[in-house]
Amino acid sequence: MRTALTWLLGVWLAGVIVAGLLWAPAAAGFQGDSFRIVFFHVPQAWVAVLAFCVNLVASIRYLRTRSALDDSRAGAAARLGLLFALLATITGSIFAKLEWGMFWNWDPRETSILVLLLVYAAYFALRQAVADEERRASLAAAYAVFAFVTMPFLVFVVPRVYASLHPDLVEAAEGVVRFRMDPRLRLVLLASLAGFTGLFVWLYSLEVRLARVLAARRREES
């Protein structure tokens, strides 16, 4: 059952890649084929945020139950979140360079994904610094929850404060989302979102299963 689903996921993603690069038309109003990168950029950003939420839930559960499994879950989610946040930042800046001529614009959305990346990096720096396993898990969980609480301010509140200073940038960012999408584009984008979510779920379950096996082996040894 699991192998069948994994194969299906592989085929799905391959289909999305082909569709994104060949089948979907070039989007109107954008430089040539540059829009195609959005098929990958948006899902990556979405998965980075999803991973953050999974990490939050696992961290809160850890603080309640102190079970090592919840800590493995939090760590797995964070690792994947870091990877996808990095990918999203890179693809995002490539798109920005093609569209607006600059690699970085400091608009709220770009800044949010960058801050998310910094939070993940800090999370792992913290984990590295603690030797004792139980303490590492509690401290990392506390940091993750605290970070989660400050994120909405960056995404929602700050742009409003910022807008009074740089209105043109805010409009440009919102423009990306609001333009009219050709139905084929929308279809590929949604399919890509589903595919990437599936990718995340698969990688996450692999990591958690691995962590469980390692923990069981360690318990047997001692």
Partner: protein, 203 residues
């Protein structure tokens, strides 16, 4: 206070392998063993400063099991890796801890506590940072017993103390014993003589 099957692992290393025992007012429990046997670790776990990797520590008031938060006001602890504030005087330290724990009702009880452990009044206002190791140990002991704790945990109480200091600790324990559950972790045979019960930890 009861503890059962306490295990503590640091990474791959198992420091405590299933220790059990009981503390009751009126009795002194001695925890003995060579260096590295885990005496200090056990005391930290009993004090609620460390979580055991496995096993159970229970504080009982009559039949009621107390949650961890409720342990701390009942505890008095003196251990080698616990210090007082060096930038404050002995009296200021005690005043701070009295204020934190329950109540600061003037300096006389604080002064009396310091004198009981052998710190003369001339030293009360000096900064703990200027104290010798013996004087620091005495101040630590005063801090541990100041609030009349129900449970007293002492890790090598007469370390750094001279004959007079050692005698004072013995007298202090005798005075407190009827109302206090006491545990002493030690290598010293003279301290072991204070105990009514003993637990041996293998190295």
């Amino acid at each position: 206070m009861r503890f059962e099957g306490v295990v503590k692992r640091f990474g791959r290393q198992k420091v405590l392998a299933g220790v059990s025992g009981e503390l009751r007012p009126g009795r002194v429990l001695v925890v003995a063993g060579p260096n590295g046997a885990g005496k200090s670790t056990l005391l930290c776990i009993l004090a609620g400063l460390l979580r055991p990797s496995a096993g159970d520590v229970r504080y009982l008031k009559g039949d009621e099991v107390l949650p961890r938060e409720a342990w701390y006001p009942l505890l008095g602890v003196a251990a080698p890796d616990m210090a007082l504030y060096e930038e404050l005087s002995a009296l200021e330290n005690l005043r701070l801890f009295a204020r934190l724990r329950c109540c600061h009702e003037g300096d006389e009880p604080l002064g009396a506590a310091l004198e009981e452990v052998g710190l003369a009044a001339t030293h009360h206002h000096k900064l703990v940072g200027t104290f010798s190791s013996g004087m620091r140990q005495r101040a630590k002991l005063a801090q541990a017993v100041l609030h009349r704790p129900a449970v007293l945990l002492l890790d090598e109480p007469s370390a750094n103390l001279d004959e007079d200091g050692h005698r004072r600790v013995g007298t202090l324990l005798e005075r407190l014993k009827p109302a206090t559950a006491i545990a002493v972790a030690t290598n010293d045979p003279r301290e072991m003589a204070w105990g009514d019960e003993k637990i041996e930890l293998a190295g």
